[in-house]
Symmetry: C2
């Protein structure tokens, strides 16, 4: 369902990798129907297109359905009906999984079919299956990642080439890494959906994007990038979820200062990287292309293969619904912070408020940046408000990631 | 079978993660017997130890056997007999898989049971299952990795702390990262076994370690480390296998100069990292702890879970036997090279022989290092011999990795 970028990639891989897939599956994967409202007369499977969903739902030969339409509706209705009809479903649609994952997994459980979505996070990077299967003997305590290629590309251009945010965004658009309406990427919503999916998987209860404090990268300036470098960090947009000792979940999507030595610091351009902290394995990091036609399509096809190998046996991929009551308030989340300020005696005023800080002052003017020790975000905001009240202009505040 | 470091870790995880594993498997994983010649009176499962393999093979309730004894014999005989008796086997024994993988996979196929070995490469890093399942819709063209934690720890200490090889080795031994007899690690044999396993998996035919040109790190000096840095590289012990356009396999285990910007350059200390180049995904990198009790044991337990989930259905993990006829001679392998030399006019003599080189000369003496363009290793050795004949002492030669 859907013959856009990813959908046409799926069709292409099924054709070009026919032999390899046959060897792995033991039978041919045949595309019976393609649902799309547009016409594709030049497609090698032009004869199998339909504009009517009913052609798919009523075809008993169709055992696995691929949903790569994107968006919530009618994707949700179509996927639900497929699962209820006893068909396994594979999707790359992170919006759908983040909004309806628990609902659809429960449907799949009831019907004893599979609902798989490896491609919804990290594109071609294996992450859902490794977390679910390879790390099954671990209690995962934390997941953190660079989950959006567009914003990582923009930040890399700012860091490496000294480009301004707007210029880097325009370049990303020209190169096809960013959409004409880039809001979902640069406002952090895309990264938020992905960390919600990983958090739901890691901790067994659905976490909805609206429960997660989300900041994008639109306020990041070149000054911040340069100060960060002097302090020994790079700025990355991070989705991070942590299980606290009291069992509560601390989850946030926001730009963070990442130490040079972190494995996430060296993930540049349009690449993604995801760190999983297991109690037995320690840190495991997965790196690769988080988007793009063939990387994403190859992850979809791998899920299709898994469905076919488990037609009579459901994969143990499941999480229950959640009401967000186990998520702590953003103000209770603990971070060390980076702050950029302007104003007379800004540093000494900050020292008076925050105690032990590290700071860099620019010579010849009243601009400076400093980093604080760890405190709750609520306490931090209180102190920042006092700093503002004391005639210090607070130009930016960014979390420091313990990554 | 085997209650050493990894074996006791497996028992520990099955105990401490009982609840989580029950939720994933749907039944309890019960340790029926432990084979070890030693006594473990303080173990919580002390009552289940046996010194007699026959107790395991004849116990019809035992459906999955874990082999973590290490070494080739009697591990091979025991594993074969278990498979023939219809029991699935999980192992962390890379020596066994590198020497008998095709043989044991064929046995498993005949008996319709599973033979899994996620823990044999990369310890706790998911790599076998992701390559086999998540990347199933890719044609893998190249696999390269830092596959041995001991040597990576030693090289990191040389690079970051300026330690001599011998001192770094002693430190690794003191910290328990290197064994008293470190030959298998520092001579490259351990890394070679692992790249052989990954190559067999990627290309479908068993590649035996004795077919693979293998160099260790014992000849790497601090001078090489420093020159490498000036050229923009770090020295890493790399296992690398590549499929050439003519279908032949180019495989080597050797120290290589890795460019700073490579994802493999930032994998330090005892950590491992593995890069897989798929035709659809592009580069995917897996990073984590390549050894250690709990990381390795958690990978073993994940395989046990997989066996239990597929008791009546074999995983499609298989490669055929191979005779090495598809592997090119080391002399036909193409690399750019790094060379360190000593002697009057060494650089100009090298320029005359190698053409366009980049070089760094130390002031005040006749020592220098240079890097060449790409050529076959055979041609390189010819030219190096001419350089030696021309009164230039060749102190070291290291491959430059295109990673």
């Amino acid at each position: 369902m859907g013959h856009g970028v990813v959908g046409s990639g799926v069709a292409e891989i099924l054709l070009t990798h026919k032999q390899k897939l046959f060897a792995s599956v033991g039978e041919e994967i045949y595309v019976k129907k393609v649902l799309d409202l547009r016409e594709f007369p030049d497609s090698p499977i032009a004869d199998r297109f339909t504009k009517n969903f009913e052609d798919i739902i009523h075809d008993l030969e169709i055992r696995v359905v691929v949903e790569v339409m994107g968006g919530l509706h009618p994707a949700y209705e179509f996927v639900s009906r497929c699962l209820k009809a006893g068909k396994s479903v594979v999707t790359s649609n992170k919006e759908l999984v983040a909004a309806y994952g628990a609902d659809l997994l429960e449907l799949a459980r009831q019907e004893n079919v599979n609902f798989l979505f490896e491609a919804s996070v990290g594109g071609g990077i294996p992450i859902i299956r490794p977390m679910n299967q390879c790390l099954v003997a671990n209690i995962v305590n934390e997941v953190a990642g660079i989950l959006n290629g567009t914003t990582n590309f923009i930040l890399t251009k700012m860091i490496e080439d000294g480009m301004q945010f707007e210029d880097a965004l325009r370049l990303a658009q020209d190169l096809g890494f960013a959409e004409r309406n880039p809001a979902a990427d640069i406002e952090g919503h895309d990264a938020c959906r992905k960390i919600c999916i990983l958090a739901s998987l890691a901790f067994g209860k659905h976490i909805y994007p609206q429960s997660v404090h989300t900041e994008g990268i639109t306020k990041i300036t070149l000054e911040d990038v340069k100060y960060a470098e002097k302090f020994g960090y790079v700025i990355k947009l991070i989705g991070r979820v942590k299980k606290l000792p009291n069992g509560k979940i601390d989850i946030v999507t926001a730009p963070m200062l990442v130490p040079f030595k972190s494995q996430l610091a060296n993930i540049d351009n349009e690449f993604n990287g995801i760190m999983v902290r297991g109690d037995c394995t320690g840190d495991v990091v997965f790196y690769g292309r988080g988007a793009g036609k063939l990387p994403t399509a190859s992850a979809v096809v791998a899920d299709v293969v898994d469905c076919i190998s488990h037609l009579k046996q459901r994969r143990f991929l499941y999480w229950a619904d959640g009401d967000g009551s186990n998520i702590i308030n953003v103000n209770d989340s603990v971070f060390a912070m980076y702050v950029r300020v302007k104003g007379k005696d800004a540093v000494s005023k900050a020292q008076a408020l925050f105690g032990d800080i590290q700071h860099i002052s620019m010579p010849g003017n009243s601009r400076a940046a400093f980093t604080t020790g760890e405190m709750t975000y609520g306490v931090f905001i209180e102190k920042i408000n006092k700093l503002s009240a004391d005639n210090v202009e607070v130009l930016s505040t960014i979390r420091i990631g313990d990554l």
